[in-house]
Amino acid sequence: MAGLVSKSTSNTSTYAGLGPLLMLPSWVLIGFFLVLPVGMMLIYSFLTKEFRGGVIWEFSLAAYDQFFFDRGLFGDDPPVIEWTYIKIFWRSTWQAAVATFFCLLIGFPTAWFIATRTGPNKSIWLFLITIPYWVNLLIRTISMKFLIRDTGPLNEWLLSLGVISEPIHIINTNFAVQLGLFYSYLPFMVLPIYASVERYNFSFSEAAADLYASRWTTLTKVILPFVKPGIIAGCILVFVPSLGAFLAPDLLGGAKNFMIGSLIEEQFKGNAGNWPFGAAISMILLSIVLVVLTYYARQQGKEEAR
């Protein structure tokens, strides 16, 4: 997140020459316990599965083959495209996109409103937005589940107020998952947009107003292009974790609304596990995320070059 939002620049050099030494612990830690493991995962995705978890060290394309092709029950039919897993990826992408859209819809006005506050109130508003982010995601998801159950408080109140005559069924629907993802990552949308609006110079708005632009023209033609980097950063910060989310689909979506996270988890838990397949799905997910992040880095590069 830090890398997406801010960049550090400093020319001071009290400890010149010690840089690599000071960086060593973090390099060793992250290199050894994150970069190397991702490399191992890549290797595992090309190995043969062992029943009851684990792998046999024999090269195999079976994991990727299983993802993309269906070769019938005995594996000797001519391959046809297997849609099951592609559909799960498509559904995850769609769910994440919908959640991102609603986060933007609510997040932009909120970020704008907070960024244009003056005085000490501003940091209090901002703090109120950040608190939920630091509250345990599991607890937040459980809270949402509790609230929207068929017999939960939301339905009870709506019933007692007479708004509805029978409980609305929300839990275990696609909408519940979208709501859960929206709720999980909303603060991620507000913060980068807030940072962008902070840097906006309001003389542009004045200039636009002087030239008889209406408020909404100013918003769409002047302000939005300026804060676009913040909006893109916010969308990525919501979309990427939503895509691989596990808790919201698992707790709110039920068995029918499977997403990538649950599919991966299933490969490593219990006896039905298939480690190479799980590793392959993770690699595919990681590739998609890297494509999105590269696109973002390019955009940022263009913005800076401008």
Partner: protein
């Protein structure tokens, strides 16, 4: 001036902001309120009571939650201390050691845990530990936690360090202090608010983690989130709401502390 203020204002944005806060807080407040519900069913309201808090500490699942809480707290403490130390050294390198080879690469590496989706990190870590023949358990959870805590500790530490000019350390060096002394006696004391703030954030991040812990924990060991998740799989019980409320309060207290400590440092400037 009135015109300028007017340009900052859009009709409905205040309402959306209130809606945003409402959406963020409503589920949490509902759970907090219902954790005081004196009723066996989670649906009906049976008056105020602390019985479910009693259930958390002395009830049927109390032993399980107590063990999980001890694991969570000890892991979070050790992970936060390690991550803060590593992040402080890294921030010093990034901000106070001039240019060196691998600097931008190093910065990318520190932020890598934020870029890789959590579930992918979880899978990779599990595969790695299993491949090198490490038994999953307390130690694997701790290592995994240190890794993803580093970027969170780095944030406030680097932010603080950016605000410290190096005239103080240069003065120390002019007076024949070694660079180690300058670091220990000048930079570290000035950095204290940032370091505390980083420690607190890393602590919460570790305390909150579910997905990675769930993958690398192995059988027979639980942290609070995995224990709660296991319990919720059989349905939400009132004691879960009580323990959730407690955990929620811990997070809020720590974030508030981190925020206040961070601001305290800024005000001195």
């Amino acid at each position: 001036m009135a015109n300028k203020l007017d340009l900052r204002r859009f009709p409905g944005f205040l309402a959306v902001t209130y809606l945003c806060l409402f959406l963020l807080y409503a589920p949490l407040i509902v759970v907090m309120v219902y954790s005081f519900n004196d009723s066996n069913s989670i649906t009906n309201w049976g008056g105020l009571s602390l019985r479910w808090y009693g259930e958390v500490f002395w009830g049927a699942e109390a032993a399980k939650f107590k063990a999980a809480a001890i694991n969570s707290i000890t892991i979070a403490t050790m992970a936060a201390i390690s991550a803060t130390t590593i992040a402080t050294l890294a921030a010093t390198a990034m901000l106070k050691a001039g240019k060196f080879r691998g600097k931008s690469f190093g910065f990318a590496l520190i932020n890598l845990p934020l870029m890789v989706p959590e579930i992918v990190t979880a899978v990779a870590t599990l595969i790695f530990f299993s491949a090198i023949g490490f038994t999953t358990g307390y130690f694997t959870i701790l290592i995994a936690h240190i890794v993803f805590c580093v970027p969170f500790a780095y944030l406030p530490i680097a932010a603080r360090m950016q605000g410290i000019e190096d005239v103080y350390e240069q003065a120390a060096l002019d007076l024949y202090a070694t660079r180690f002394q300058a670091f220990k006696l000048i930079l570290l004391p000035l950095m204290t608010p940032g370091i505390i703030s980083g420690f607190l954030l890393a602590f919460i991040i570790s305390l909150d983690d579910f997905i990675i812990t769930n993958f690398v924990k192995g059988a027979g060991i639980e942290t609070l989130p995995t224990a709660i998740f296991g319990s919720v799989k059989q349905g939400i019980k009132p004691n879960i709401m009580a323990i959730s409320t407690l955990l929620l309060l811990v997070s809020v207290v720590f974030v508030t502390l981190s925020y206040l400590v961070g601001r305290m440092g800024q005000n001195k400037k």
